[in-house]
Symmetry: C2
């Protein structure tokens, strides 16, 4: 499911749903979990020790969630969450995504160079400090002051921690904006940077049904991977890992999902939703065309098929998510509900003593949304980099901007280049992620071509780049001339700083330098004219919500740790009940022998030994979203009874509201994990480690 953003919450059932949650919805922060509601509804007692134990066993990966499931640092997550690590360890001749991987000894475990494993050890409310920094300032000054204060808080937090030795976990401090500015927190993570691959099934079974089945249920995907976190070259010792209960959950059983939902937009104003509706189509069109280019490229041969696989998977997932988001924004019922809720809130604000000084923040947001329409495409192509779409360019921009940033005081930099951000950037630059020139040329030429289409052939940047070249010839010259595909070259430029960047004749570095003024200029317009007034306005709206509705509210998802509760259940699809469990048997019946409906050879060979009635996937009404992928699904006793990997198709509208009737989470059943490790992959040692963590 989404690497970007997906689901969310705001009940269809009642007015005021933006303020109080109904059904089993809500992506709750651990400091504000509604234990009383759970006790009342399910009779389960969720205590502080339970919450602490689950939190400390939950891991944030680079773009997913995972859990410690053994005392020796074994980590359970989804196959699709480890896909970039599998790609990193693949060659055009041998794809670990396709073939799967099993380390038979610790020594065989493979490093995931770009991966991290973060454990949230403390949450500190810094709202007062941030508000003190912005009090009395105008929009733009407040926006700048807020960023500086957040940088200072993060930096002070890390400096207060003991210096970590190389190879050891270190403290990472990140500010978090909750309730669109209603609260600011400092989240403190223990960060492991040595993460290794232990076991991954073949993609054919991990993602059985491929893109056609993505976001569908019934489903048959063994979307699991085992990783292991290391520290000082040794497996991390975990005091209290989660234990897997291989029997799985019963129908109707209470299930918690602990993880990091990526992004939701349930608190947006009506004008912001209209802006999203109008700006989604260009993104969708670019994604759809790029999909066509990848697919056609992949037909050229086996090598091409293999190297296009990982970017294509991510792209197709994002395409489906955004397509259904647009459908949701075309849903007249949803918009009508949002309008009613906004009108109700505004009426209550007007009637509530003490909120008289709010002004009209909704009008400010609407003005900013209108202004954003005019610069949406320049921001997309120039600052967000869609016009220079390639891995090499992204490396180049990081190198150019980081060199520039490090010459400035920490608090004056672009926020993604503060001192606390640099170690992670360096790790990513050093990771041996594969760079395939054929793919780079494809995506980069595509970026130039679409930039020319959307900004127009007479736009100054377009003119400068394409005055005498075609998108293809320019992309070829840049990609073929760049040495940034080599991690050593990247690290040398990183360490060389501003002088090395200024002296570099690498064409990709030169491009990143050349277009930087225009990119920063459009970013500044965005930050000053849109981000700044919107944040002031949404802080006010959040203050109004707290004043009126109190704290029985959960914030929009921000790829930070949340806990939600729900139960194992299916749903009613056009009058037909969808059962919550699938079984192995049907996967074999549904196979066509051709990708993406192909059962891999290992499973065909093991077929006589397999129990065809083994539960495979199951659905629950937990409220999750992309970023929750890889989350443990946990019963009231704190045992893992499932592994969340997707939502059903209705879950995508969760970006804007929670449809209690149809929004469902989909998980891998632990019984199929045991069946696979035991009978298909002969991974008895791992099974033993999991059974007695």
């Amino acid at each position: 499911m989404s690497r970007f953003r997906t689901l969310t919450l705001a009940s269809l059932l009642t007015l005021g749903a933006t303020s109080r949650s109904h059904a089993d919805e809500g992506m709750w922060t651990y400091d504000n979990f509604p234990a009383a509601t759970v006790r009342q509804r399910y009779g389960a007692d969720i205590t502080k020790p339970w919450l602490d134990r689950v939190r400390l066993a939950t891991i944030r990966l680079a773009n997913c969630t995972a859990s410690f499931v053994s005392k020796d640092g074994l980590v359970l997550t989804n196959h699709h969450c480890a896909e970039s690590c599998l790609a990193e360890n693949s060659t055009p001749e041998k794809s670990l995504i396709e073939d799967g991987f099993i380390a038979r000894t610790r020594e065989q475990e493979l490093r995931c160079g770009a991966q991290v494993a973060d454990v949230l050890v403390e949450m500190q409310d810094v709202t007062a400090q941030v508000n003190a920094a912005t009090r009395g300032l105008g929009d733009q000054a407040a926006n700048d002051a807020r960023k500086r204060r957040l940088t200072e808080l993060e930096s002070a937090c890390e400096k207060a921690a003991p210096t970590a030795k190389p190879g050891a976990a270190r403290l990472s401090c990140e500010s978090v904006t909750l309730y669109e500015g209603g609260q600011y927190f400092l989240y403190k993570y223990r960060r492991y940077t040595d993460v290794r691959l232990v076991l991954a099934p073949e993609a054919a079974i991990a993602a059985f049904g491929g893109d056609p089945d993505n976001f569908q249920f019934p489903r048959w995907c063994l979307d699991m991977t085992l990783l292991r976190a290391y520290e000082n070259g040794k497996p991390v010792r975990v005091a209290e890992p989660l234990r897997i209960n291989f029997s799985g959950p019963a129908a109707g059983e209470l299930v918690f999902v602990s993880g990091h939902p990526g992004s939701t937009d349930r608190q947006l104003t009506v004008s912001q939703l209209a802006l999203l509706r109008d700006t989604l189509p260009p993104t969708l069109l670019r994604s759809a065309e790029l999909r066509g280019r990848y697919l056609q490229f992949a037909k050229a041969g086996e090598k091409e098929r293999r190297i296009a696989q990982e970017p294509l998977n991510g792209l197709e997932n994002g395409l489906k998510v955004r397509r259904k988001m647009l459908d949701a924004l075309h849903d007249d019922d949803l918009l009508a509900l949002k309008r009613r809720e906004e009108a109700e809130l505004r009426a209550r604000v007007a009637a509530t003593p003490g909120l008289g000084d709010l002004g009209d923040p909704w009008a400010s947001v609407a003005r900013a949304a209108q202004a954003e329409r005019a610069i949406d495409q320049p921001v997309t192509f120039l600052e967000n980099g869609s016009g220079f779409n390639s891995r090499l360019f992204r490396y180049a921009r990081v190198l150019v901007r980081a060199a520039d940033a490090r010459a400035k005081p920490d608090a004056d930099r672009l926020r993604e280049f503060t001192d606390t951000s640099l170690p992670r950037l360096e790790q990513q630059l050093a990771a041996p992620s594969p760079v395939y020139p054929e793919l780079e040329r494809l995506t980069m030429s595509f970026g130039f071509e679409r930039m020319r289409e959307w900004l127009g052939p007479d736009h100054p940047t377009v003119r400068k780049l394409l005055a005498t070249e075609s998108p293809d010839s320019l992309a070829a010259r840049l990609v073929d001339g760049s040495r940034l595909g080599d991690p050593a070259v990247r690290l040398a430029l990183w360490k060389g700083g501003a002088a090395a960047i200024a002296a570099s004749e690498d064409p990709m570095i030169r491009l990143a330098r050349d277009v930087d003024p225009e990119a920063r200029a459009v970013r500044k317009v965005f930050e000053d004219n849109i981000q700044a007034p919107v944040r002031i306005a949404t802080e006010k709206i959040a203050r109004a919500r707290f004043a009126i509705f109190g704290t029985g509210v959960y914030p929009d998802a921000t790829f930070t740790l949340r806990l939600n509760f729900g139960a194992v259940q299916g749903w009613n699809e056009n009058g037909t009940m969808v059962e919550p469990f699938t079984r192995l048997e049907r996967a074999f019946e549904r196979a066509t022998g051709k990708d993406p409906f192909r059962i891999p050879a290992s499973w065909e060979a093991a077929k006589p030994r397999l129990d065809m009635q083994t539960p495979f996937n199951f659905s629950t009404n937990n409220d999750i979203v992309g970023g929750n992928s890889g989350s443990a699904m946990i019963n009231a006793r704190g045992e893992v009874v499932g592994l969340a990997f997707d939502g059903n198709i209705h879950s995508i509208s969760g970006a804007y509201w929670f449809d209690a009737a149809q929004n469902r989470t989909i998980g891998v059943h632990p019984a199929i994990i045991r069946e696979a490790l035991s009978k298909v992959y002969d991974a008895q040692d791992l099974l033993k480690e999991l059974q007695a963590p």
Copy 2:
């Protein structure tokens, strides 16, 4: 510009714009042209003889407009209107689209096998006959009875005409539905089926700026082609061709466009507009992905680039049109206006004596729109054929359905297979249009893959086709096994009728046979549950409009002959005035040397002789839409002063309303045509023929 549908009319300025036209808008039928308005506004006298002369010199091509411009049957139209003829006469090694073409003698003129040239000789109002056939019937029975009556009227009309000898023009009778059912007409055309290619410039200058510049202005496109109509093997003798005035028009001068606007949706109800908004994205996404596949395919080599060019051009045009249509449907002002107009009309209906028996046709339309959402995708993939996207399949379906139809009485057939339709179908089957297996495999595999995505892998048709095959392997088997690429094979099956079809083992014929029951079933649901009630309802709404607003109204575009008037003018684009004329000089300045901004070698060679101040393209406020491409732009004296080939980007919203402030037509200036024929292509004989027609 659009081969599908584009612009239209309904002023932004005033309420009631659906009923009375303001500004220079309106796609008027020749029998209801507002000559008094033109006289009042421009002082020009448009008489019956003027109208008759222009009408009889205006030609409807297969998907465009053209005009007779010499007594020897010379026909002026756009380059992009002749693109399929150029493709038909090309090979993978030599592309006439790319290289251009000049016949130095009549003998060198090349046949356009699939082309026709229709001249509208009579318009007969048959509203009373059609209404008599449906009076008192329920929705579905009326729908069937109406189709039968239209078939009978067409058939009787053609039978009443003298039998044409082979090679001679024949009478073609087509029914036309105007005002969404407010009027029914029988249009009688003189149809020439022998159309030949005389001159076409290189695509590089005909479509200078390519897709990036499409629908843009300022512009520099020599989007012209000369054809010649033949009869009995000799050039058609034209009594009164249009004369080109090579000086072109002055700024502000009155200009008429006579042509065949394809389709507009200005009279749709609000619920129908919402349906369009919701169903456009899937079409857009398919088009965008196919564009990516074509573009990547075209990178494989020169041959691939050449054979993908024509389908790609059409696809990209349609993509831009639909993208801007979606933008228009996201325009809150437009929707608000439509809601107000609908409410106003409903209020006046309620207040108008004699309209009491109308019921609530808007509610009927809304119910049907809701029902259409549920079958939009099955109709698209199964009946409209997007699931089997290939030229070979389209041939196969025509052969299968025509054989079936011919075994039935004329009035009982699907309307596209009535006796009056058969000669045109036979001509298309016989035309040697190129079939490139590589492209067929690409589009067909794409169709299967997307059908599986949108209908789902468990849909019965999908299951049947892909139970043991991949989209690629199935497409390859069908395309490689089919002999329908050979016109002789197609004609043999056509002549062989039902017996030949039943006996055929051609895999494409078998596919068309196999999927026909499911395709017809979903078509029947569409016709009975959506088309039938909608037509009854829109007939009622049309009746109400006539009763309230009278006849000062023009109907939505239907690819039938219309005349509109306007003036040469630019517009205000974000505070900057766009001048209405461009000049040759700037094209050379803007060239990059690389497609699509490459000046062809012939022009580079002629450059020293060219007058750089020659007017190139110009803009007017005429109200046109795709299908009007190739239309002559005519001054009050009846002289050709331009050749319409596009609208500006704002013109695309003309599908739903006419934005008088910004909607502009773009034409080729006759001076650049003379400059090209005289100094670049050395076509002195043609120039002489044009100057003294």
